[in-house]
Amino acid sequence: MAFLPGDAAVSLVGRNATEEQLKQVREDLGLEQPVWAQYGQWLEGAVRGDLGNSMINRQPVTAQLNGRLAPSMSLIVGATLIATTLGVAIGILGAQRGRIGRVIDSGSIGGLAVPDFWLGLVLIVLFAVHLGWFPPTGYVRWNEGVGPWMRSVALPIATLSVPATAILARQTREAMSTALSKEYVRTLRAAGIGECSILFRHGLRNAAIPVVTVVGLVFIGSLGGTVAVESVFAIPGLGSTAVHATATRDLPLIQGVVVYFTLIVIVVNLLVDLAYRYLDPRLQSATATDGAFANSGAAP
């Protein structure tokens, strides 16, 4: 960011400012210091949990971003839950029937090809303007009423869910097809085990690890999706903050958004790893065995 044209001083003072005024503001903001010195100061505060203050409105970055975390997480968690539910269901269905599988493949490509800002506007026109079911823009905090909160996030979640569902449906179909083509499935069928049990107890469990991996990726990908979706729906989340902070060259706020996004990615990856252990008993036993070897190796 430091190497892009412009800085927060230009945003603060306006286009009619003189060079003297800009210089004064740059000094006040610490922008006259070398980039490494600015970064060092920021890092020193960051390790103590202080992400500094916005250069534009001088408010603490942490407080601003904490207030914008809930709207973004509402969208991302909601979209991931819906995409997982629909994507897995469609994927399982597609794994069983050849023609449906092809339709799902085509639908997935279509879902991925639809630009989210365009889809968002179409949903606004249809469900907010013509049907009046949902508000076209804005975010209502959940403590102001669960119903209004759900209505305010419904269309943005639907917008984010479409590409995510497409990805998950396709991944689930492939993973399930692979699992259901294994020898043991034929054996299970020969033994008279019910189709539901084969699908959900055996097939889905074996297909789950690649699907869970993609769920994690979908969640992380939705972080990027919020940038456009929050702008279309005028939602005060992390994505719209990133856009605004970049436009005004508000470096501390941009760094804060990056830190928040990074922490979210780390937490999601951790949860995905934990899910692997739950879904695949071999990983648990492997860890236990490794531990046993380590213990025995350390013994005198």
Binding site: L12, N16, A17, R58, A234, T248
Partner: protein, 444 residues
């Protein structure tokens, strides 16, 4: 004071105001009696002096409007005199709603400026509720209990929403979520088609600023014949009709109809004449064609205008080498860097002083190559000292700018406002710079 739709300044917080000498160097104003700020502090002459002194010392664009102020003297409990170091006829405009220097802040808040980071302490009809506002997203306003004119308060609560996507904003109006909005030239046609009342008056000079008038970066632009040729090569009416749906929004000069500086003769003098454009290029030695680098940005439709102009200039052998800035900050930084000989421009027109501050002044951001024109300076000196009707000298300034082709004006782009049925109170005209007093929005 308030700049009314007819272009006349009306009393507001100041009941009496104006220049009291014959060279626009002393300005006096008398304040309304019994006015209080929203924090309960009295609005008197000392408070206004504190406010103006504070504004003058802050590194903001507002301070630029007060650079000629030498001294502010409190002459009575409700009266002040402002002494100027040079003639400056623009204080009324600075104090009115367009620029807002007259939006006086309470001295109590000025003593603790951090209270203004999230709050307000003004003397207007509404005040901010910080706990119900989210910076850059939602601003909730409630009536100021101390406002001097309760009859002007029409709403128990006003919520201002920032909707960054202009298409979403139009749909929010159609869905009934938003009742009034600030539009732009790219959505006016869609808004009107959607049945929204569109109030618009031309305000902005939109076109290409030919900044490198000495040819430091682009030698051809240093030749006035080339700059004139560019002006004659563009069919502005066709562009206005195509982009704004109204050919009358074409602009060939530096003032709008209704402004004192407007002269209809200049429209013809600077009109579309591609044969003359070719001849001028030939005379300047560029008969085989010329390439001119231009910086533009996706803002207020500036990039669209530049592309339309480029198409027409190609007809006379001029190629625009367009660089599009990533965002507005990059655009302004690039424009003032001196690296780009020409740039898209959107500049609010009003008086010739408005044009002077940013466009003509060699220190102004829209004059990054610091062009100085002695004849123009002489005309401005005459203008600043003129008391009374300034039409004649403003028209001569306008004519000089056209003659020297400082820019390539294309459109008088409107500043637009959208209102739903059942509301009134917005009067946007060239007289008030298309900047109405938004607090007057009320049920019809």
């Amino acid at each position: 004071m308030i700049l009314q739709p007819d272009g006349v300044f009306a009393p507001n917080l100041a009941v009496d105001f104006g220049y009291t000498d014959d060279k626009n160097m002393r300005y006096e104003l008398t304040l309304r009696e019994g006015v209080k700020f929203s924090d309960g502090t009295s609005l008197d002459a000392e408070a206004v002096k504190t406010h103006l002194d504070y504004v003058r010392t802050q590194p903001t664009s507002l301070a630029q409007l007060l650079t000629r102020v030498a001294n502010i003297e409190v002459t009575g409990p409700l009266s002040l005199a402002i002494e100027l170091s040079e003639s400056d006829p623009g204080l009324n405009y600075a104090f009115a709603q367009g620029f807002g220097v007259g939006n006086v802040v309470s001295p109590t808040a000025i003593a603790s400026p951090e209270t203004l980071d999230l709050g307000t302490a003004g003397a207007g009809p509404y005040m901010l509720v910080p706990e119900e506002s989210i910076p850059f997203d939602t601003y909730t306003l409630i009536p100021n209990p101390h406002y001097w004119n309760p009859g002007r308060i029409h709403w128990d609560e006003v919520v201002v929403r920032v909707i960054p996507n202009s298409s979403s904003m139009i749909e929010a109006i159609r869905a009934g979520q938003v009742q009034a909005a600030h539009g732009d030239s790219t959505t006016m046609v869609a808004a009107a088609d959607a049945g929204i009342t569109v109030l618009a008056a031309p305000l902005l000079l939109v076109g290409i600023n030919l900044m490198d008038r000495a040819g430091a970066v682009s030698a051809p632009l240093g030749d006035v014949r080339v700059r004139r040729a560019l002006n004659h090569a563009v069919d502005r009416e066709a562009i206005a009709a195509a982009l704004l749906g109204d050919g009358t929004l074409a602009l060939s000069q530096y003032a709008l109809e209704g402004h004192k500086g407007y002269d209809p003769v200049l429209d013809a003098a600077n009109g579309y004449d591609p044969d003359l454009a070719r001849q001028l290029l030939q005379d300047a030695g560029y008969g085989d064609g010329v390439t001119i680098p231009v910086l533009d940005v996706s803002l207020l439709g500036l990039d669209t205008v530049v592309q339309a102009v480029a198409g027409q200039l190609a007809e006379v052998g001029v190629v625009l080498d367009i660089t599009t800035a990533a965002d507005v900050t990059a655009y302004f930084t690039g424009m003032v860097s001196g690296e780009h000989p020409a740039a898209a421009i959107g500049y609010g027109l009003g008086t010739m002083q408005t044009l002077s501050v940013g466009f003509v002044d060699p220190m102004g951001p829209f004059n990054p190559f610091g062009t100085v024109d002695e004849e123009l300076d002489s005309l401005y000196a005459e203008y600043f000292e003129t008391v009374g009707d300034t039409s004649d000298v403003e028209q001569r300034i306008n004519a000089r700018l056209v003659d020297q082709a400082w820019a390539l004006p294309v459109l008088g782009s409107p500043l637009s406002w959208y209102l739903v049925e059942g509301l009134t109170g917005i009067e946007a005209t060239s007289g008030n710079g298309s900047i109405p007093t938004l607090v007057d929005i009320r049920p019809a």
